[in-house]
Amino acid sequence: MAHVRLDHTQKTYPNGFKAIHGVDVEISDGELIVLVGPSGCGKSTLLRMIAGLESVTEGTISIGDRVVNDLEPADRDIAMVFQNYALYPHMNVFDNMAYGLKIRGLAKSEILARVKKAADILELTDDQLTRKPRQLSGGQRQRVAMGRAIVREPSVFLFDEPLSNLDAKLRVQMRLEIKRLQERLGITSVYVTHDQVEAMTLGHRLMVLNEGIVEQLGTPIELYEHPASLFVAGFIGSPAMNFAPAKINADGSGVNLDGGAEFQLPTGTYAEFANQDVILGIRPEDLILTDSVTSTTNLTATLVEHLGADTLVHGHFGSDQTDMTIRLGGIQIIKSDDLLPLRLSPEKIHLFNPGTKKRLA
């Protein structure tokens, strides 16, 4: 058990490419933090720096109260679960889990006890312990990889996209298992994923990375409700947030799309930005179907997708051609070219500065 601290941590490769532009974060004891971002954003690099598989160019990484910059991975008291599991193919499951303990010189009885305990937690049978990794299914291999991490009883767990090799159904199941396990063992964890659903459901906090820069750090709900930048807004949430160029009106009370559609803004908040060009962001689920009397805008439907639990409607507001997606609950019978009267609560509006891509107010 330990907290992890990253202090101005940077990584520059010998060829001059800067992979990580300075990360500051304090991960408290028992917390699960998710590093999320598109591929190539540096999230895996950052994880591997914590693991000691990549060197740190500047700044420090501390685990507990020790600065671990120059420690070998084995001495950092961490355990890592790899994307492709990295199980030793020629060893059976028991030996895979016991290998690290053997090297550390633990007594046979202690190794046996620890592996048995981990196998119990992960519901691996005695029969499975004697098999080779290739005789196991993907989900079972995943469990063994986690077992290998658990037996070390580390202060920090590192997960490198552990679920991306599993099929969709198993992924949901293992996601729950990882969450349960992490809460049960209470071990500080860093989890890397590119899947925003995984990130939202697993993490106590999320760190969104983009091109080596931390875009935002916060709880899943904070990120969802108050994305700090266009990037975070577009990355978190599925279907993604709708964006359209717009302009705040003269008294700051509303925002207008090019085609004339107007949305009410919360009073007072945006007064100082009057007449400014902005990018308007609306989550698909925030536009609510209403009757024509209270509607402020009508969406012209162009395409309808039925998901069963939800109906996704693609369309545009008036003469503005920006494609908008809205999500309506349940099954809605809508044809293309229908006009849908919609309502949007002013506090659900997200406005971004088109230049800096940052959130306004």
Binding site: Y88, P89, Y99
Partner: protein, 282 residues
């Protein structure tokens, strides 16, 4: 292609049988010649069916050698050949494993330079560098010794290259997992790399054993002492026995004996051999 046409089946069997006969006939002749006495073997026509002198010939070949010749049984030569072939095979594999390990897993200056230096020795087999190599071996007083027979043949670019390719297919994550588990480089080599290259080692052993066993030119040069002769070079010398008709029965028996160990190695290591050359699952 799955077809069921009796005519095609018959034709392909005939072609295969002819092929087998072409390969097998010389071996049959060798076997037949080894079962007749010396007198019968100089008469025409040559026999095509086995005679009754197999065990006499075997005894003479193993223990006495050719009459009027060097009076040296081939049992000793077979032992020499075996020791040489084993030293070459084991030595090549050991050195290649270690050098491939260094080239793939360590970052040292001129790493690729060293790799290419090893690689271009492919162009310099023993036959090309035979005179300087002989001089080196002679100056080291290694003539007429097992070391002299095997060491110059041990350095091997092919095996190094093959192990390099094998190691490159082993995912980096395994190395990283081993590092996190606390395994140092030699531990990783012993616990992970060696077991994972097991089938490749076996395949290479088969090839290299046969390569070593079949060496002819080099043993001919470095051995002058009869106790160090190898069986393959002995066959040639038997043909030149002093002013006599060659004793074909003994020569053919020697040939048969010389064929046995490579055949045995191939038969017993067949499974591993095929696996080592074809297996891709890592």
């Amino acid at each position: 292609m799955i077809e069921n046409r009796p005519f095609i089946t018959a034709i392909s069997h005939i072609v295969l049988v002819i092929g087998v006969m072409i390969i097998a006939f010389p071996i049959w002749v060798t076997f037949v010649a080894a079962t007749h006495d010396a007198v019968r073997m100089v008469q025409v026509p040559l026999p095509l069916w086995p005679g009754s002198h197999f065990f006499e010939n075997l005894d003479q070949t193993l223990n006495k050698g050719i009459e009027g010749g060097v009076n040296q049984g081939v049992a000793m030569m077979m032992l020499n050949s075996l020791i040489m072939a084993m030293m070459i095979a084991v030595g090549k594999i050991a050195i290649s494993l270690i050098s491939a390990f260094a080239i793939v897993y360590f970052r040292f200056p001129f790493r690729m330079g060293f790799f290419w230096m090893i690689f271009i020795t492919l162009m310099l087999p023993v036959e090309v560098r035979i005179i300087p190599t002989f001089e080196v071996v002679a100056n080291l007083n290694l003539l007429n010794s097992y070391l002299g027979l095997s060491v110059p043949l041990i350095a091997s670019a092919t095996a190094t290259f093959m192990f390099r390719q094998t190691f490159l297919t082993i995912p980096d994550e395994l190395l990283e997992a081993a590092r996190i588990d606390g395994a140092g480089p030699m531990r990783f080599f012993k616990d992970i790399l060696l077991p994972m290259s097991r089938t490749n080692i076996a395949a290479l052993f088969v090839i290299l054993f046969i390569y070593g066993w079949n060496q002819y030119l080099w043993p001919l040069l470095v051995t002058t002492d009869r106790d160090m002769y190898t069986i393959v070079m002995a066959i040639k010398q038997m043909l030149e026995a002093a002013e006599q008709a060659p004793e074909w029965n003994v020569i053919m028996m020697t040939t048969l004996l010389a064929m046995l160990p490579p055949v045995a190695v191939v038969i017993f290591m067949q499974k591993l051999f095929v696996k080592g050359l074809t297996e891709t699952e890592k």
